[in-house]
Amino acid sequence: MIEFQQVYKTYRVAGRDIPALQPTTLDIQGGQVFGLIGHSGAGKSTLLRLINRLEEPSGGRIVIDGTDVTALDADGLRRFRQRVGMIFQHFNLLASKTVADNVAMPLRLAGELSAAEIDARVAELLARVGLGDHAKKYPAQLSGGQKQRVGIARALATRPKILLCDEATSALDPQTTGQVLQLLAEINRELGLTIVLITHEMDVIRRVCDRVAVMDGGVIVEQGPVADVFLHPQHPTTRRFVLEAEHVDEDEQHDDFAHVPGRILRLTFRGEATYAPLLGTIARDTGVDYSILAGRIDRIKETPYGQLTLALVGGDVESALIRLNAADVHVEVLR
């Protein structure tokens, strides 16, 4: 659906070339929610803006749905942009226009529908985002979450196939963030829309994304299905994001565990295995005792997962390990 072929971007600042994105090859499948995570300056915003050419690539090809968008002329680019929706961190609504006029704007600019058709489409969009009663209001009269809903309605107006989200929840409080993410997931499911979102919060990735790419210094350092990247991060940058999301300080934890006797393991369950009574059964059969040192049971998008850090003491520890390894869990022996 969205293919990057050796795409790179450099900015010229004071006579010197500053690389923003190193040559990158990337394939985003249609219909999925693809997350890009990175700190500010990691190049994620550049990568996102290359998709609809708000940033011009310095080199490489971007092929979307079989069309080389890097080769489009001004007119072709405008028509292509009408098929790509975009929402922003600070909403970027026009303060001078009502909610309905903001949502109607992409349709009026495209000039393909009659006034009556536009009115009907706007009413339908506002109903979808739950703002049917606010059509005549101005953006300044709305809360942050409502403004982002208007942004989403506006982005969907031209029935795009792709929705780009630029830190869409970073200016919102946690509760509103949840509602907006839920709306995005709903849109992805019901309209089959491909969503590319950038964020600096791992929690946003965990809640809505199917795949994630982690960026650092203009390079994608790690990518894969969210569950794999989230539960088994390989790159130090990814590990930092995951630990931040879980509010875990590794050094502190290491000190805490120092005086705990026995073997220390980390078990990762995924899917239905999360709810299986595995630990109890193995403890009974092998005579080991276990204590839970740290743990978390949660969901990644719709998949339940659990991650437990255990200390095993007494009994037949070796055969307990064999039993665990044979079961549907991922085992890491920490000590």
Binding site: R78, M86, F88, H90, N92, L94, A95
Partner: protein, 221 residues
């Protein structure tokens, strides 16, 4: 009342007020017609803007700065041949309007440029992302968003024009300022001076109030 305003010829005052209003209305109209596109052009060609054009921006900027640094009284006289060419006369209300417009347009254009710069870049980016043409970005996003700022600019320009019209007496344009100088100052008719000054004050007050109301109305806050 009669004793207080012995020198005041109310019919003269009425004619002078009409002249001032005519000069103000005519010059404000042409200032906006010429200054708005010039301001938009200054904005678009400016540094890091949609149509960054260093040479053109530099040239326009220089022209605006030169015209703005020229005292209006000098401009009024320098402009005489051009005014005659344009209106057939260098005298009266018609003779005053061209220099008033040339004096106020660069000032207004700068204010428009500033008002447009106040528009959030994110708005322009969002409109670009919708697939808008540059013309659509200007008409559908930039100008509506800058409307409060542009109304404020029109208000400030109108008030500046009121004070310019006072000097237009030099070319025999008449008006309240001219009356104040010829009768109030040169003939020591203090009562005429007081009346004209009060009328100018009322005019400025009305312009500011109406302007402020429009700015608030279009701010949508």
């Amino acid at each position: 009342m009669e004793a207080l305003f012995t020198h005041v010829d109310w019919y003269e005052i009425w004619l002078a007020t009409l002249d001032t209003l005519l000069m103000l209305g005519g010059s404000l109209l042409f200032t906006v017609i010429l200054g708005l596109p010039l301001g938009v052009l200054l904005f678009l060609t400016g540094p890091r803007q949609l149509f960054e054009q260093k040479a053109l921006y530099g040239l326009l900027s220089l022209l605006v700065n030169v015209l703005r640094s020229l005292p209006f009284i000098i401009l009024l006289i320098v402009m005489i041949p051009f005014t005659v060419l344009l209106t057939g006369t260098s005298l009266g209300v018609a003779g005053a309007i061209p220099p008033l417009v040339v004096g106020a347009t660069p000032f207004f254009a700068r204010l428009v440029e500033t008002a447009l710069r106040e528009v959030d870049r994110g708005i322009i980016e969002a409109t670009q992302a919708m697939g808008a043409t540059t013309r659509q970005i200007i008409w559908n996003a930039l100008l509506p968003e800058a409307r409060p700022g542009i109304f404020a600019a029109v208000t400030v320009t109108a008030i500046t024009l009121v004070s310019y019209t006072a000097m237009a007496g030099v070319v025999g344009a008449g008006g309240l300022g001219d009356l104040a100088i010829r009768f109030g100052y040169q003939r020591f008719q203090t009562d005429v001076m007081v009346v004209t000054v009060v009328l100018l004050l009322v005019l400025v007050q009305i312009l500011q109030t109406v302007g402020d109301k429009l700015v608030v109305h279009f701010s949508r806050k």
